[in-house]
Symmetry: C2
């Protein structure tokens, strides 16, 4: 999926290679599984983030998601164009837009999350349930150390 030929063990055992390879493969799987819903993995992440929160302004959401506010504009343009989110003027500060999921957004989120779960399962197809949980747990500990 990433490379067709052998890189040799010295390179293919490096952590950077293994992580990148897994990420690229998961990206490809997400692309396949999310295609029916017309959204990208990144857009799904935005929907999932908005769903679990009190309504926030564009900039608050952008800061939390770690994207630039100018990038957020385009991201929301796309999602709004698909009627998955709505921008509502903030009544208390009319400079701000409050971002909310539409009903369609809610429904799409539920279905797309099942598709994403399927993509993850396919990535981990070689592992049994205990090993899959172990991998997730180890990765979580690795990243949380530098929260």
């Amino acid at each position: 999926m990433t490379s067709e030929a052998d890189l040799g063990p010295r390179l293919s055992r490096r952590l950077a290679y293994l992580l990148k390879r897994a990420m690229v493969d998961l990206d490809t799987l997400h692309e396949q599984h999310l295609r029916p819903f017309g959204i990208t993995a990144r857009e799904l992440a935005v929907l999932l983030f908005l769903d679990g929160r009190e309504p926030e302004s564009q900039q608050q959401a952008a800061a939390h998601l770690g994207v630039d506010r100018t990038t957020m504009v385009g991201l929301l343009d796309a999602l709004e164009g698909k009627d998955l989110v709505a921008r509502r003027p903030d009544v208390e500060d009319r400079r701000r837009n409050v971002i909310v999921l539409t009903d369609t957004g809610q429904a799409t989120l539920r279905k797309a999350m099942r598709a994403s779960d399927a993509a993850e399962r396919q990535l981990l197809a070689e592992l049994d349930d205990r090993e899959a949980a172990q991998l997730r747990e180890l990765l979580k500990r690795v990243t949380s150390g530098r929260a």
Copy 2:
């Protein structure tokens, strides 16, 4: 390192997030640890790849590494400019350049690999040796399924 604020458990437990986060963190660590040697993680990968092989043409190397041949030109320009690799005209097919590590390239490779090992150890600082090996093994099995 990646995000300053909490994303909520629904998002921060996704495999895509965990993998990307680990990769970005490792990139940052590599940047720090490799700075003294004046090379990037990607350039180190090229050096490591060349070291374990019979001399190959630019295109063969590019294909193995999964980069475009036009991208390879710039990559080798940079490495050649630092006197880490050399292009030698292939005596049997004068269209080709054979790529070899210079002595400086060999020495830099050895030192940079130790730095890369240190970057990996720092990424996995929260894990003990057994867990670190486990993570590596699980990732290897995940990716090798789609070789």
